[in-house]
Symmetry: C2
Subunit: 358 residues, 2 copies
Amino acid sequence: MKKHNFAAGPSILPRPVIESAAKAVLDFEGIGLSVLEISHRTKEFEAVIEEASSLMKELLNIPEGYQVLWLAGGASTQFYFVPFNFLEKKAGYVNTGVWAKKAMKEAVNFGETIEVASSEDKNNTYIPKGYKIPEDLDYLHITSNNTIFGTEYHEDIDCPVPLIADMSSDILSRPVDVSKYVMIYGGAQKNIGPAGVTFVIVKEDALGKVTRKIPSMIDYRTHIKNGSMFNTPPVFPIYVVRENLKWVKEQGGVAEIQRRNQAKAKVLYDEIERNSMFMSPVAVEDRSLMNVPFVYSEKYKDMETSEFIDFSKKYGMVGLKGHRLVGGFRASIYNSLPIESVQALVECMQEFEKQYAK
Amino acid sequence: MKKHNFAAGPSILPRPVIESAAKAVLDFEGIGLSVLEISHRTKEFEAVIEEASSLMKELLNIPEGYQVLWLAGGASTQFYFVPFNFLEKKAGYVNTGVWAKKAMKEAVNFGETIEVASSEDKNNTYIPKGYKIPEDLDYLHITSNNTIFGTEYHEDIDCPVPLIADMSSDILSRPVDVSKYVMIYGGAQKNIGPAGVTFVIVKEDALGKVTRKIPSMIDYRTHIKNGSMFNTPPVFPIYVVRENLKWVKEQGGVAEIQRRNQAKAKVLYDEIERNSMFMSPVAVEDRSLMNVPFVYSEKYKDMETSEFIDFSKKYGMVGLKGHRLVGGFRASIYNSLPIESVQALVECMQEFEKQYAK
């Protein structure tokens, strides 16, 4: 049975990317060796990492003065890299849920850390707006898409202080005005590639402004100077990223991907609104195009979550269980999830309603 | 033409491991999804990471009280993790070359850091012995195998203070008395798996003795508490590690691997001694069984390195170029390099001698 992969991350990748990855594991570009057993200093791999960076620059229209880095670890690693490199006196964080709070927690040991705005009063079901950003911040940190709660900034905000965004789960899902940020980062394992590599887009002249000593590996300038090859990078994850970025470009780039994402999200949100058994807990204007949490509607709120989960498995649905902080269900509909999978989910929800609605 | 892969790292992996990895990229254990697109929280992946840890414990006979961790990054990441977690007042480092020095460099910002012994006087061609280890050290750090210079500790040393070893390039190549160390760590990309994951074997009761605040992701206790899943781990590299550890076990374990490594090294070192055109720059008793640097003998010292490199390529040899700090050539003969590749290299060296010796 065909599987429809709604996992929140690590998550679905395009089939051609997977096939290319499997081929490279057996024989990397016809050199007679696996991509798993070649030196990162080979000209073949250097071409891969360079192409990955230049594709990122092209796809996101990254201005001059910014560098693209491929580092080991995930966004959680960047949670302490950020204050190490940017926090001299005072940092501001917008609290939009679990990951935003985790990022903020790692800053407190480095300097004054303030919560500039929060959506905790309503279980993080919206994106705070209209708050005042203090002008004495070294930076403001936002989480542009909230995987757990299903909220998303749909536009790049204006910010009077350097802006840093964790875009782990919505990078490449829409065009971004990179010039509004000093740094954008994220784990690859949602929209860019497999787990094990992190992308960092950083404005070079924003670095070097803190007085503390930074371990070489934590200092972004080390990695800029060495083209992400100060130490052995995660070779295979970067290979898969390059293949995936090529795929994004072949699809027509980020604008076309955004168009598809909007179409996919509309199909799903429309069904959640229509279906008598389900509802969305998220404020309409802040609903994520990447992660769509939904719960049983009021009338059915005492039904077991497992009823719909078990039902959906018969339709090949994977990864639909909601996060425990929201409950219910969550469909992650990242870039590479085809609309056919969303349609299959909608049919499954409709069939569930036919069989279970009272 | 069959390739003989002597790369220093990332380096050769057993063919069955590569084939298994390629299969899992296409379909992970028959679940209809790629290993690249499954959540690390699936029961299938949890079984993989648990088996990897239990195989490490079994193969290295790791005593009670130690934990095995799989973290993102490489040994270079651990260079700052180590002082963060262990350096309260004073640390000692044995300087056996580039990587040992890089590790030492990251400690200096955390506390007093002393070089307890060094082999720099003879271009790191030996392992220092007979030095005094100050008893007031928080730890002594050694690099058990020196990839660049081709020296290796062949035994676990006695140490009056907590001993920490970077075993990136000789882990699993011989039985180790883990009880002599508080921590052993290394990048996977030589003897354990592909680039992108680091193993850490750490004695639990040696942790928690420093007063500084440690970022969550740098604190080993975070990863112990969460079974290496505090954040998304490098899923695919860990999968390949598990496959490789299974392979080591199938071969007969670390004792059998050591026997093979000794046999392979003997064949190669014997030829270096015999061949009139080559010599080893390394002290006989400290020669590495993993990385074998060799240079032209005195009589041929003006020959271009490229002559033998180009010649060897015709025999399918890959990765033989020596590190610039040593010059000449280097054959890395890790666990999974078959003796047939060493024999092919020896034949190539003999043929070179026939054609070029004067």
